[in-house]
């Protein structure tokens, strides 16, 4: 798309249709993949994609500014992964009042009808799946759990964490959770956190991680202690590196999500809106799949062959 110039107002028939995509950050591979999916769909549908991102996970002000600037530049619709489910609502409302179609990707706003539509995975469910998997894999062994979380107050992290505990069947604050640490989803921080957890409770045998980089950091720390074989690591995301790590046996299981799919559907919806004037609405679940090469009875899962063909980064 080259002709961004000349399209003065939203809906002007002659110019190209502009679609905005606002992700939480620029740097998480999950969102990068989402952008790729959007770019591909934009090319197919003949619309122009512009992107923006918050400066960090939770940067609400940055996302608001991005919405405003996109509306000013005359976009037809905005796809957004809201950093904060509530805080973004007033800005979205202003955009919608100006006739812009706003679709939430990956996680909902609160309330969900703050946006026209939602294309997302259920993060809580993703957590539950690996929780159930872990419960089955532990086979009644008493668990000593470490959780490597995201950051204070970021909804995705909270939902996955809660889901994991629910799926595993323990309550928050249960004595079997011997160590919890924020990692920001970063591999080096994940490693440091795991090292310290092992120092604190050497008999940890189950590790939940917010995403696969944190999981790989934990794996490195466990390996240094020679514990990588007898500790179960479960994670969420389903990126290609992560799925490969499941295949390599570093991670036992991961809940795979599909960011490209969300973005593709989102761009299509905006393109449709531009053509037909009908707005997408409601919740479309883009699905989550448990990936593991060591399936457990009673828990549905697919193998890494499936995982690697459907992974996103």
């Amino acid at each position: 798309g080259s002709g961004s110039k000349g399209s003065t107002a939203a809906g002007s028939s002659g110019g190209t249709v502009k679609v905005g995509l606002i992700t939480k950050t620029d740097t998480n591979p999950f969102f990068v993949k989402m952008k790729e999916g959007a770019q591909k769909a934009a090319q197919e549908d003949g619309v122009t994609l512009t992107t923006a991102a918050g400066k960090f996970d939770g940067d609400n002000a940055g996302q608001i500014a991005a919405i405003e600037n996109m509306v000013a530049s005359g976009v037809k619709g905005i796809l957004i992964t809201p950093s904060d489910s509530k805080a973004i609502l007033p800005a979205i409302k202003k955009a919608r009042d100006k006739g812009v179609l706003v679709i939430a990707l990956d996680s909902p706003t609160d309330p969900q009808d703050g946006t026209d539509a939602l294309f997302a995975t259920d993060n809580k469910k993703a957590g539950e799946l690996i929780g159930q998997y872990a419960k089955a894999a532990m086979a009644g062994k008493p668990a000593k759990i470490a959780t490597l979380d995201l950051a204070p107050g970021v909804a995705v992290g909270q939902l996955r964490h809660d889901g994991f505990l629910a799926g595993f069947g323990v309550a928050a604050g249960d004595p079997s959770i011997v160590c919890s640490q924020d990692t920001g989803g970063d591999q080096a921080k994940g490693q440091t956190a795991m090292e310290n957890c092992l120092q604190k409770a050497p008999d940890i045998n189950l590790v939940y991680t917010i995403n696969e980089p944190a999981a790989l950091g934990a794996y490195t720390a466990l390996k240094a202690k020679g514990r990588e074989k007898d500790v179960l690591i479960v994670s969420v995301d389903g990126g290609c590196t992560g799925t490969q790590a499941v295949k390599d046996g570093k991670i036992a299981a991961t809940s795979q999500q599909y960011p490209m799919l969300m973005a593709e559907k989102g761009v299509k919806a905006v393109a449709d809106f531009a053509k037909t004037g009908t707005k997408a609405s409601g919740y479309t679940d883009t699905g989550v799949t448990l990936i593991s090469d060591t399936p457990q009875t009673g828990v549905d899962s697919k193998d890494t062959g499936f995982g690697l063909t459907n992974c996103w980064g």
Binding site: K5, G58, N60, A61, M70, A72, S73, S83, P152, G153
Partner: protein, 331 residues
């Protein structure tokens, strides 16, 4: 002996033209104008009242923080806690008002008071022990950040009473919608520009930043001046908190995490020296606007976000280069 009795050429002060040319804000202003000119040519949507109103709204929170930051930096200090203090203030105001614990205006007053309290503690530690401002405010950053999350229980606070969001409302001004909050921020800049340039207090702040020892020997009470400055900066962060709440319509515990660096950037882009004693709040306003214009303009041009980061990096360096060159020329 003729030289000594001859009237000084500049007894009446510099001429207006010279004043504008040599004003320390001339360089940043030139950079801002250049940036605006560029984006006006590059995109159709940039040059409009609505867009400018938007930019001002977008920078008003960081800009207001930059006022407090300027005060601290003028004393050769630095404040890493400003964003975190603002976040705590905003969540406090929002939560108390939304839960109806106290009337909204009382909530605002309490929020300002708490922010002032944080500033006061910063000031006391910096001056009385004394500790380096960098470490004190870094520690306070962690404390305020943690308190924000503990107090808010990680919950965003919505459904705020209208007194809290009033400043986010707009009124038409020459065909453009302007928020009341933008006016408050601009008024605040005017007040502090006046205080710093035209009152005794302002002189003392600059003298303190130049050399705290010289200021002390000249009878400036540097202890209470410094502590007062940190507390006052806290009040300004409280006002920023209110502006933030009114702009976003919610109390958000995640707010302000990069605002310390952003506000320092605005201050330094505005020509204020990190070594204290030289600079102005108007420079900081211009500095904040420069960054805002870059972000807005690049977005309007449809530059992909990672390239926006790249280009912003280069542009920030270019902006101070313009400043530097314009200084050399007028010297």
């Amino acid at each position: 002996m003729t030289t000594s009795t001859a009237p000084y050429a500049d007894l009446t002060g510099p001429t207006l033209a010279r004043r504008i040319m040599t004003a320390p804000t001339a360089g940043p202003l030139a950079a801002l104008v250049l940036a605006c000119a560029f984006f006006s040519l590059a995109t159709d949507q940039f040059l409009s009242g609505g867009n400018f109103s938007l930019i001002i709204q977008q920078v008003m929170v960081v800009g207001t923080l930059a006022i407090g930051q300027t005060l601290i930096i003028l004393t050769a200090g630095i404040d890493l806690s400003c964003g975190a203090v603002m976040a705590f203030g905003s969540i406090m105001i929002a939560k108390m008002a939304a839960e109806g614990t106290v009337p909204p205006l009382v909530a605002i007053a309490l929020g300002l008071a708490v922010c002032a309290g944080f500033g006061l503690v910063n000031g006391l530690l910096v001056k009385l022990i004394p500790l380096p401002p960098f470490i004190v405010t870094l520690g306070m950053l962690n404390v305020a950040f943690a308190l924000t999350h503990i107090y808010s229980k990680e919950q965003t606070v919505a459904d705020l009473p209208s007194q809290l969001t009033f400043l986010g409302n707009t009124f038409p001004l020459g065909g453009t919608d302007v928020t009341y909050g933008s006016l408050v921020a601009l008024a605040l800049f005017a007040v502090f520009a006046h205080l710093l340039s035209s009152t005794s207090w302002g002189r003392h702040v600059y003298a303190l930043g130049n050399s705290s020892e010289a200021a002390r020997l000249n009878g400036v009470r540097i202890g209470r001046l410094t502590i007062g400055l940190y507390a006052l900066a806290g009040v300004v962060y409280g006002i920023a908190a209110l502006l933030l709440v009114s702009r976003t319509g919610v109390g958000d515990p995640q707010a302000g995490q990069t605002d310390n660096l952003d506000s320092i950037t605005a201050v330094v882009l505005g020509g204020t020296s990190l070594f204290g004693g030289r600079g102005s709040v108007l420079g900081s306003l211009i500095g904040a606007l420069i960054v805002g214009v870059f972000r807005n303009g690049l977005q309007l041009m449809g530059v992909a976000s990672i390239y926006q980061t790249l280009i912003t990096g280069v542009l920030v360096i270019l902006a101070v280069t313009v400043d530097q060159i314009s200084r050399k020329r007028t010297r």
